[in-house]
């Protein structure tokens, strides 16, 4: 019983910590600059973001984003400005709006298909637990142990 109380308290603390970490808060200007520049692709680099790149172009893009944030533009307005000049290419993750957003479905589809296949193979809760091994199974196991020992020795 003591153990269960402990687990309950631990789970409460854990939930509290996660809720605290996930609490919504207003992004500061610097955080917004980071958010936007993380998503922008540096045009002269190999797939690096504007936030990470040390190139002059990335520096100019960071300056531009910072200025737009100071001017009170929303993230969407700033992103639209870059889309006008560079197209969707400039974003490192494809927007959900167009058909290219389909790529977001990949992990979901794989997990759904995988779980479907796996759950078909799992024993239901009502099914019997395996019984004691038969003589044949034991013999097979003995043989395998001997073989593995031979292989490893």
């Amino acid at each position: 019983m003591n153990g269960r109380v402990l687990v309950a308290i631990a789970l409460l603390v854990l939930a509290g910590a996660l809720v605290f970490a996930a609490r919504p808060h207003e992004a500061t200007a610097d955080e917004r600059i980071d958010q936007i520049t993380t998503e922008l692709r540096c045009p002269v680099c190999q797939g690096l973001s504007v936030k990470d790149s040390t190139s002059e172009t990335a520096r100019q893009m960071r300056d531009l984003v910072a200025q737009r944030v100071r001017e009170g533009k929303t993230n969407a307005e700033i992103e639209a400005e870059f889309r006008t000049a560079y197209g969707d290419w400039i974003f490192l993750s494809p927007p959900l709006s167009s058909w290219s957003g389909l790529v977001w479905l990949v992990p979901v589809a794989v997990i759904a298909a995988g779980l479907g296949l796996v759950s078909a193979r799992l024993r239901g809760p009502g099914a019997p637990a395996p019984t004691a091994p038969s003589a044949a199974q034991v013999a097979a196991l003995r043989e395998r142990v001997a073989r593995e020992e031979a292989a490893e020795g």
Binding site: L11, L14, L18, A129
Partner: protein, 665 residues
């Protein structure tokens, strides 16, 4: 005869031997002919020696600056230091393929000598598969597509020198060979799997024969990836270690499927289930190494690592198609014979966790694969040009990684077949308390991003399960064998290496995860233009610029900023530089890194006064915990060594029936 002629001749002789060996091994497997097998063995041994000779000739040609060879003229210069000359063997396409071929020839020779002793027919067939693959690679490097010894009619006075990024850090000596070893060794389990399918043998003989190879190739891939991350951190100068670059993706994909395999193979060993699936994972792992090579060596995707366009692309694609047709065809043909009997287990059993883990690894792999290829698909279909990079992969892969971290703690704590409620309580009370402590620890140390807090919680959860397992194992040995604590601990690692080595690997992965979470969540940036004597403060560290100076070396010209870092107990000189190699148009940044167990201070010389060197723009990043990433990689490697080391010789003890058959605790 020059080194180039010698190498070229050696490769042609090796090609001939490899063709001969393929035929001899096929004949030996088909007719069970001992003489043919003997001849194939000799071909494998001599072939390996010849390819090594060719690789050494290339190293010699590079070291002696023999510019009559095109590869040397393009990747070497008189000024290149000896060390970087020698490792330029893998600085470009042709040399890399030569190294790859040498490793493959070594693996072929190893199977020919060691593998064909215990299980002749399976191993002989596998040897034929290895020979066939070796023949392909020898064909590649003896035709103009990737001929490392191609000649120049007129040798230039000096060569271009290696790619600037590849001669800027000694880790280049380590990272590509490790990765190539990992890549190439995946072909051994593949060859045995194909042999097993061709022969129509059910059973797990191929699996027992290749278990150690699978583990070794997995470990080398893993350590090679971490070494690559370290290299890019120390060289590329943006303060990160992973950018979801196509080449990084190409390396992580086979590592993911291989990790899935190392776990699901246990289900086959314990329960004789998942035979087709395990074969498929072995095939997928190998095919992904070839796909990765194709993607990065054919120039279809842009990458830091892509070499220039060459005729090798279509050949590699043809090879990939041949491998897919052969292995998928065999799998579909034989899968009826490999069908499992009966259901797998309860949802809360170890085997079920392995399956869920496999699903997550598949999702992770396919996401990386499709994310890498999607821009190609989109452009082929609609002409639209789009990018898929870090933000996409982070959003998908981080939740998957967290779920896998959770399963990594749960799986080893569950018994095979199913768990009772009492078992669950016994196994998970301490880990859950640890998870709560981990989350609180994250918040207290200022790591407040949700994903990072979850990583700390799950990391503590896994660490607690591992500690619990070790504590129980040590206690059991003390009671059973009367050993003291230290002896019991070392005996656990030596005698039950697969299990406890596996736990050490898990610990290493947790360390890596914590390092990634900490460094991603708490990195602080700043940038300022400084005159000598001025300083910049970030996160309790002060960086003072002492001087900006030009440094001239035979192979390069550099502008170096002399910095002194103080604060938080640090007192260190850092020298970030901009390095100009004659071979490259633009200067490469060389960061100055003050590494520490707590924080790394990462400094970059972003710009400087070109006329009088009177100022420098310094970008500074304080990156907490990043050193633990490399340490975690080392722990993973140590765990793999423990898990793969042969157990000490022992008397063959027939175990009582009950112990053999009973589900593990």
């Amino acid at each position: 005869m020059s080194a180039g002629d010698l190498g070229a001749a050696a490769l042609r002789a090796a090609l001939f031997l490899s063709l001969w060996g393929t035929g001899a091994a096929i004949y030996a497997a088909w007719r069970r002919d001992a003489r043919a097998l003997h001849s194939a063995r000799i071909a494998a041994g001599i072939g390996f020696a010849l390819v090594v000779l060719a690789a050494l000739s290339m190293m010699f040609a590079l070291a002696t600056h023999d510019f009559s060879i095109l590869y040397v003229a393009e990747n070497n210069a008189r000024e290149t230091p000896l060390f970087y000359s020698v490792i330029s063997l893998w600085a470009a396409l042709e040399g890399s393929i030569l190294l790859w071929t040498a490793i493959l020839a070594g693996a072929t020779a190893f199977i020919a000598v060691r593998g064909t002793v215990a299980i002749p027919r399976l191993a002989t067939t596998a040897l034929a598969v290895m020979f066939a693959m070796l023949t392909f690679f020898l064909l590649l490097i003896t035709t103009p597509a990737a001929d490392p010894f191609a000649r120049l009619a007129l040798a230039p006075d000096n060569g271009n020198g290696p790619n600037a990024l590849l001669q800027n850090h000694p880790l280049m000596a380590l990272h590509p060979p490790l990765l190539y070893l990992g890549y190439v060794l995946t072909s051994v389990p593949f060859a045995y799997a194909i042999a097993s399918l061709i022969l129509g043998e059910g059973g797990d003989r191929w699996l027992v024969a290749t278990r150690r190879f699978a583990l070794i190739s997995w470990a080398l891939l893993g350590v090679g990836i971490v070494a690559g991350a370290w290299w890019s951190y120390a060289v590329l100068g943006w303060g990160g270690y992973w950018a979801w670059d196509p080449v990084e993706n190409a390396a992580i994909m086979p590592w993911l499927t291989s990790t899935a395999y190392l776990h699901s193979v246990m289900v086959e060993e314990k329960r004789s289930l998942l035979r087709t699936w395990n074969l498929a994972l072995v095939v997928a792992t190998f095919a992904l190494t070839i796909l990765g090579t194709f993607l990065t060596r054919s120039g279809v995707v842009n990458s830091v690592h892509s070499f220039s366009l060459s005729a090798i692309g279509p050949l590699l694609l043809g090879y990939l198609v041949a491998i897919l047709v052969l292995s998928v065809g065999l799998l579909l043909w034989r899968s009826g014979r490999l069908r499992d009997a009966g259901p797998i287990g309860a949802p809360l059993s170890r085997e079920a966790i392995f399956l869920f883990q496999n699903v997550l690894f598949m999702a992770a792999t396919l996401t990386v694969l499709l994310g890498t290829l999607y821009p190609l698909v989109a452009e082929a279909i609609s002409g639209a040009q789009l990018s898929i990079g870090g933000p996409y992969f982070d959003r998908v892969e981080i939740p998957l990684a967290l779920a896998l971290l959770f399963l990594m703690g749960v799986g080893p704590q569950l018994p095979w077949h199913g768990a009772s409620r009492a078992t669950l309580e016994r196994q998970f009370t301490a880990p859950i308390v640890a998870a709560a402590a981990g989350a609180v620890a994250a918040l207290v140390t200022g790591t407040t991003a949700l994903a990072a807090v979850l990583t700390y919680a799950l990391g503590a959860f896994v660490i607690a399960t591992v500690v619990q397992e070790f504590a129980r194992g040590v206690r059991a040995r003390r009671t059973l064998h009367g050993e003291d604590g230290v002896a019991a601990f070392s005996n656990l690692l030596r005698r039950s290496g697969r299990r406890y080595g596996g736990y050490v690997v898990h610990l290493g992965i947790v360390v890596v995860a914590l390092a990634v979470a900490t460094s991603q969540a708490r990195t602080v940036d700043a940038e300022r233009t400084l005159a000598p004597g001025e300083s910049l403060q970030v996160a309790g560290y002060t960086v003072r610029l002492d001087a900006v100076r030009a440094v001239s070396e035979p192979q390069r010209e550099s502008i170096v900023a002399d910095l002194v870092v103080t604060g938080n107990g640090a007192n260190q000189d850092l020298r970030p530089a901009l390095v100009q190699y004659p071979s490259s148009a633009q200067a490469v940044g060389s960061p100055g890194i003050g590494a520490g167990l707590r924080d790394d201070v990462y400094t970059i010389l972003a710009a400087y006064d070109q006329r009088t060197l009177s100022w420098a723009t310094i970008r500074m990043r304080v990156i907490p915990g990043v050193s633990w990433l490399w340490l975690g990689g080392a722990v993973v490697g140590i765990g793999a060594v423990i898990a793969g080391a042969p157990p000490p010789r022992r008397r063959v003890v027939r175990m009582p029936i009950a112990e053999v058959a009973a589900p593990a605790k």
